[in-house]
């Protein structure tokens, strides 16, 4: 049977609508979530079905929005927050770092606040330094949160539903470059569990751990390299907290080579965490030094010529893989 296809943004919209159908406790808060544009189509029309109480155009006060979600969750609601750009969410860092992430902890496990935060990361068309930051590493660093980086429409819906109906506050980082992609998306409300990585393609020469918006480029790179008889395994962790390190380790045990492709800045980021987590267990078994493809340690430029230079793409990944193999060939 041919599977139904939906775009990434339509899958999110369907997930939200189904969650609101399944439980009256689910509410959506965010700037302009009730507008026709519907945050890149992800909330379009929801207000017509569920009303302005449940689909709330929230004041431009991100700190309050996150705090309100915590309070509403205490009163039994399951709020979903929507940030058109992750950058604006930084006003709510106190709410996230001092309250949301440690709420359960300081209650001694007696009180949970199931809040889901959707944060869209802008990319391209000159978004520049205040519209394009992917700060997944910041949130991954905080205990008490779950962090998801869905790379397919299927995962976007499943992880969203899993967040909404789970008990742990979750941050879902959505890369804008993925919004028009289509994938098999089952119609029923389904779950994609946190902490379960997906092997996007299998291979034996190099393990590429690809995150969020750079998963599609990594899959394409794997295909290109396949024509050169280089066999690449692409592992998509799907979620950074909790992290399915076992699937990554199993892959690296097989390939003995690790490349991490992370749409975040290079220094002190998720790529460093993944490489050290692997090296702690398998360091001496590796055939060559692990490598990473990340954004440079720089804020995002506006001009499209510089954007091209700034963002890694399929070619960057192919070259990184080839350089690793050359090194390892020389070693053996």
């Amino acid at each position: 049977m041919r599977m139904r296809e939906l775009t990434y943004s339509a899958a999110i919209r369907e997930g939200l609508a189904q969650a609101m159908d399944l439980s009256e406790k689910v509410i959506v808060l965010g700037q302009l979530v009730d507008s026709k544009a519907g945050v890149f189509g992800t909330t379009s029309g929801l207000v017509d079905v569920f009303g302005t109480n449940r689909v709330q155009d929230f004041p431009v006060a991100e700190g309050l929005m996150t705090s309100s979600a915590i309070g509403a969750a205490l009163a039994g609601m399951r709020p979903v927050l929507v940030h058109q750009r992750l950058d604006f969410m930084l006003y709510s860092l106190d709410a996230i770092g001092n309250w949301l992430s440690l709420w359960r902890f300081k209650s001694n496990g007696l009180s949970d606040v199931p809040v889901t935060i959707r944060a869209v990361v802008g990319k391209g068309w000159g978004q520049g330094p205040q519209h394009s930051k992917s700060l997944h590493a910041w949130f991954t660093h905080l205990p008490g949160l779950r962090v998801a980086m869905p790379s397919t429409a299927q995962d976007a819906k499943g992880l969203l539903l899993e967040s909404i109906f789970g008990e742990v506050p979750s941050i879902i980082v959505e890369d804008r470059s993925l919004f028009s992609m289509t994938d098999h998306v089952p119609e029923k409300p389904y779950r994609v569990k946190f902490g379960e990585a997906c092997v996007r393609c299998t291979g034996v020469d190099v393990t590429v751990v690809a995150i969020g918006g750079l998963v599609p480029a990594s899959i394409r790179a794997a295909k290109t390299l396949g024509f050169e008889s280089v066999s690449v395994e692409v592992v998509d962790p799907r979620t950074l907290t909790p992290l399915d390190i076992d699937t990554i380790l199993n892959s690296v045990r097989k390939t003995r080579r690790l490349l991490v492709v992370d749409p975040g800045w290079r220094s002190a980021g998720v790529s460093a965490e993944l490489i050290s987590s692997v090296c702690e267990r398998l360091g001496t078994d590796l055939a060559c030094n692990p490598k990473r493809v990340c954004l440079p340690d720089s804020h995002t430029p506006m001009s499209y010529s510089l954007e091209k230079e700034y963002y890694p793409d399929e070619k960057t990944i192919v070259n990184a893989v080839l350089s690793m193999l050359q090194v390892s060939v020389g070693d053996t």
Binding site: M3, S23, I27, N53, R54, P59, A61, G63, L64, S67, S68, A69, G71, A72, L74, A75, G76, M77, D94, A95, N98, R104, F105, K106, S107, N108, G109, L110, S111, G124, W125, P143, L145, T152, Q154, D155, L161, E162, F165, G166, E167, S177, L178, F179, S180, M181, T182, H184, P189, Y190, R191, V192, K193, E196, C198, R200, C201, G213, P216, I219
Partner: protein, 373 residues
Amino acid sequence: MQEITHSELLKVGGRYDALSLDGLTENDVRSLYGFMLRLRMCEEQLQEEYHPADEMRCPVHFCIGQEAVPAALSLILCSSDYLFSHHRSHGYFLAKCGEMKTLFAELYGRSTGANGGIAGSQDISMHTAKFYSGAILAGAVAIATGAAMGIQLQGSDSVVAVGFGEGAGDEGVFWEAVSFAALRQMPVIFICENNRYATFSEHLKRQSRDNISLKAEAFGVMSSTVFGNDVAAVYRALRAAHSHAKCGGGPVLVQTYTYRSCSHVGPEDDSWIGYRPKPELEYWKTNCPIKLLEEKMITNGMLNQTRKSELVRQSDAEIQEAFKYAKSSPLPSEVNWSWLNANPSSPLADVLLGAIDVTSFDEGQEDTLPAPY
């Protein structure tokens, strides 16, 4: 609105003589007095025990002098109401949760504490009693507003009360919360215990006006100001606020001008810093909330020495019992960090969501450049 500010009060000075028991039953008065006396004794004995035993190893912000608001709340709030507190939490805890021994055990870091010794004095909570606190200024105010939103959305007639100091008014999110509560006419009572100092910093060093009520009015929040050591006035104001919010009248702010007669944190005397003038300390000592009510009660024949001794004996017994309980309780050990930080179970997702084959995806999909903006 009555014009009361710290500087106005000091200008008038002397003994406050306007305490009236109008609108209070004899039972109300006795309960308010009993609560304040018990809280004062509790705090004083905790101070005495704090050093040199050093068994309470957490920052403790005592509330000596600020007993009136918690006492009033203990009479007003129902079990379905929510209470959020600032870091000076003991009075609020006792007002909503009652049990002194779980408070003491928490301060002692014991597993029998309200939060198993994880939270301590400034982060203590009791979910079953709908009581929460926290140390970061104004954060709890914003969360309280969200709880009010949740209540409102569910059509319940519960009320949220949140206490904070005037220092919270320095924070932006505080005004976001006030504005939002007014916009949505939420059932929330903002209670400003204006004790003039954020730690050692005087109100007018930080804000251009020292009357939070006037500012809240500008946001459309019904506000009142009372002399915060007149517990009867505090009670009347909070009771009116509670009925107003409960009946869908929207948010209310009650500002009480009061004073912390103890140090900011810990039992040590912090007067060496020299942040509070002597006449000011004297004024507030003269106008201790317990003393003011006590004298009124004696005049009205509601209290005599025998009755007072009996109350002191009762509270003392409760306090000794709480110390005994805390000291004899086990310390926590072998914590499951992962479980403590993130609930591993998701019962609702288990019921509502189906499974799919999560390994099959469309391998032909192409990513696309986003459209402009």
